[in-house]
């Protein structure tokens, strides 16, 4: 990365970053004006002196950030960053890298925003593990796109069908995610004929989240996501009704 060409790309990126940082610094400086600085009254109670105001340190931080952003802008312009800023070369990402990032981004968003709060943790975990290993293990572009579509579609359905928290325990999104995982697993097994790892993948994909969620819920007795999920609900019921009485009878 220290080759002159790479440094030039870096300075071009710095040009754009410094502009973003300037805008953000100005925005937050403006937001800081919401915090009383000179002892305004709040709900009839007189405020404090300027030197003890909650706005003092943030003002210093965002002012410093604004100054440093201008310095960075100056450095990047001096190094020719502004001249290259509008050319494609300046962005520094090729199509493959952009696609890779986009698919991973969509996968993670689909998983965290859509699946984790609403869908059974074991099903959601199995889906993302299968999708990510299938999508990125061999470096095939089509597989990346397919895996991202599967996770994002499951997440999008869960999010749109059950947006409010009161509906997070519904099970139709669990079934949709389970069906998508089954289809994806079938694709993995068909395409990976003769590949020993492909045969192991469904087991790894189910076991990893199952062990984690059970260890967290029953071992550490912690809150886990989607407690009312399709599979976990059954495990939890059997644990407390069938298993636990075996060793905790008084």
């Amino acid at each position: 990365m220290d080759q002159p060409d790479n440094i030039a790309v870096l300075r071009t990126r710095d040009f754009w970053t410094s502009l973003v940082l300037i805008v953000l610094s100005l925005f937050f400086l403006w937001k800081t004006t919401d915090i009383p600085l000179f002892g305004e009254n709040r709900a009839g109670v007189s405020g404090v002196d300027w030197y003890n105001s909650a706005a003092l340190v943030p003002l210093g931080i965002f002012s410093s950030m604004l100054i440093l952003s201008f310095v960075l802008l100056g450095i990047s312009i001096k190094a020719g960053g502004a001249q290259r800023a509008l050319s494609m070369i300046g962005i520094g990402w090729d199509k493959a890298e952009a696609l890779r990032f986009t698919t991973i981004g969509l996968t993670l968003i689909g998983y965290i925003v859509g699946l984790v709060p609403r869908v059974d943790f074991i099903i959601g975990g199995a889906l993302i593990v299968t999708a990510m290993i299938y999508g990125y293990r061999g470096g095939h572009t089509n597989r990346m796109i397919t895996s991202a579509i599967f996770v994002f579609a499951a997440g999008l359905y869960a999010f749109t069908a059950h947006t409010p928290q009161s509906e997070w325990n519904a099970h139709d999104d669990d079934w949709v995610a389970l069906a998508l995982w089954a289809i994806l697993t079938a694709i993995v097994l068909i395409q990976g004929k003769g590949d020993a790892f492909a045969r192991k993948l469904p087991i790894i994909a189910v076991l990893a989240p199952t062990i984690l969620v059970c260890a967290m819920a029953f071992g550490f007795r912690q809150n886990v996501p989607a407690r009312g999920g399709l599979i976990f609900k059954q495990i939890e019921y059997q644990y407390y009704v069938t298993l636990k009485p075996l060793w905790s009878q008084k």
Binding site: R13, P58, I104, M132, P225
Partner: protein
């Protein structure tokens, strides 16, 4: 001498408590094994190991045991990075980057077993050197720190962020400072610590309690690693391990001066706020190259070169815990994760910390280094097998692990959104060559800086005189100003001119 003996007696008591508790071994063996595994897998780092285990153990088991788990993983992961460095020419962690320079040529020359054995021994001795320094210096500094008040605390926090920004930047120093400022800005979100004035909450009640440390750590260290690592990489060929791993006494005696010197350097670098094991490894490697008789062989398969970096990065652990325990300022990124675990358990590292905790930390480090030493020498083959697992296989599982760990710390689903947001920002910061460590240190120290800076002004009715009239504060202020000035081009030119004039 009496002081050292009393310290050793206290340490003996803590050690007895640990070794007589069977659960100690369960946590110790598991965590050191996990740590070495994390370190050995290229794409996973020591910081990530401690961060993920913080999510898992910090508030779920008693602090005494969670400290064993976290410190065991820390020691194991820093050492584990040497495996891929020596056998694959890929540093398992940033701390082992210098190790690959000499470790791989040695393994290629058929001396892989010797290299791994000496590395294990050097890492073990290095950890002990750092731990001994922690035992002695932490108390000296704790006595000094009794005189530290708000102005000094504020300036120390600022120094930690500035120094971390300066030394951790691979590109422009200004980027390290900007990263530190972003971290400080993130720490401003929520109710302010003195007046409970809400800041930048945008009407979202979750934001009132500010950004939680664990999701920020997970986002900053795990998510970018996952995004970056999910690409097809042609698996490197793991070199065959030739020769015995158990080193001979003669070899240890021969290289002991190098190990001792590197241990001291590593501890010293670790004690600098916010500077991690990678810097310690490189500094020690650089010094070794200068002072060693076989300096010209460095980079071509020198055992001294290998041991210079490997001893220092493990010695850095003890050093990094000195500022953490004495001042509440993490000495390295993994120490920042440890600080997160302390905070979750309502323990505030600094002058008021319970001395029993320090003694326990020292005893755990000694036990962890012994465990690492034994595992390194006798179970190396397991870790070599682990090297063959591609990162596209284990990173998705790390994602699931990170998710449940972050969720269960307390904030629920909002913590996951925060983790994802911080993760994307951190990924782009990595891409743009902004260091992440200053950001995390900024988040952790932001509230301390805000509170102590304003308290100093409150005491002096808005005057800055406390920052000048108190000797400690005046020294720290001067150091901070010099640190900033040292990076200003005009000052640099001035220094060069003076140097040229008097050379």
């Amino acid at each position: 001498m009496e002081f050292v003996l009393s310290q050793l007696a206290g340490f003996g008591g803590a050690m007895t408590d640990l070794v007589t508790d069977p659960l100690t071994y369960v946590y110790l063996i598991t965590s050191v094994f996990l740590g070495i595994t994390f370190g050995a897998l290229p794409g996973l780092t020591a910081t990530l190991a401690v961060t993920i285990l913080t999510g898992f153990f910090s508030n779920k088991i008693p602090l005494d045991y969670s400290m064993i788990a976290l410190l065991g993983a820390y020691v194991g992961a820093i050492y584990g990075g040497s495996y891929p460095s020596i056998l694959l020419n890929i540093p398992g962690t940033a701390a082992s980057a210098a190790t690959a320079m000499d470790g791989y040529p040695l393994a290629k020359a058929g001396r892989g077993g010797e290299a791994l054995g000496l590395t294990t021994t050097a890492s073990f001795i290095g950890t002990l050197i750092g731990t001994f320094a922690l035992l002695i210096f932490v108390w000296v500094l704790l006595l000094v720190s009794k005189n530290i008040a708000s102005p000094e605390k504020a300036l120390l926090a600022l120094f930690g962020i500035l120094l971390s920004g300066t030394l951790m930047s691979e590109d422009l120093v200004i980027k390290g400072w900007i990263a530190g400022l972003i971290g400080l800005a993130m720490a401003m979100v929520g109710m302010d610590p003195l007046l409970s004035e809400p800041r930048y909450t945008f009407g979202w009640s979750y934001m009132l309690s500010g950004f939680q440390v664990v999701p920020v750590l997970m986002g900053a260290f795990a998510v970018p690693q996952i995004i970056e690592g999910m690409r097809h990489v042609q698996a490197g060929k793991v070199l065959e391990l030739k020769g015995s791993i158990v080193p001979s006494w003669a070899a240890i005696r021969r290289y002991f001066p190098t190990i001792g010197r590197s241990g001291v350097i590593g501890t010293g670098v670790g004690a600098l706020p916010g500077v991690g094991e990678d810097v310690a490894g490189w500094v020690s490697y650089g010094v070794g190259k200068t002072v060693s008789k076989e300096g010209e062989k460095f980079g071509k398969g020198s055992v001294e070169g290998l041991l210079s970096s490997e001893t220092a990065n493990n010695a850095c652990i003890g050093g990094a815990l000195i500022p953490l325990l004495v001042l509440g300022i993490p000495g390295s990124p993994p120490a920042a994760a440890l600080m997160g675990a302390f905070k979750i358990n309502n323990i505030i590292p600094g002058p008021t910390i319970d001395p029993a905790i320090i003694l326990r930390v020292v005893a755990i480090l000694v036990l962890a280094s012994f465990t690492m030493f034994i595992m390194g020498l006798f179970t190396a083959k397991i870790f070599i097998k682990i090297l063959r697992i591609p990162q596209t296989v284990f990173l998705p599982i790390v994602m699931v692990l990170t998710t449940i760990g972050s969720f269960s710390v307390g904030g629920g689903i909002n913590d996951l959104y925060l983790m994802l947001g911080v993760g994307f920002v951190a990924f782009f910061m990595n891409l743009l060559r902004y260091p992440i460590a200053p950001l995390v240190i900024g988040v952790i120290l932001g509230s301390l800086f805000d509170e102590t800076f304003r308290r100093s002004l409150l005491i002096s009715d808005g005057s800055l005189e406390h920052f000048i009239s108190r000797p400690g504060a005046a020294i720290l202020l001067t150091v901070n100003i010099l640190l900033i000035l040292s990076q200003v081009p005009a000052t640099k030119r001035g220094f060069r001119w003076i140097k040229g004039k008097f050379a």
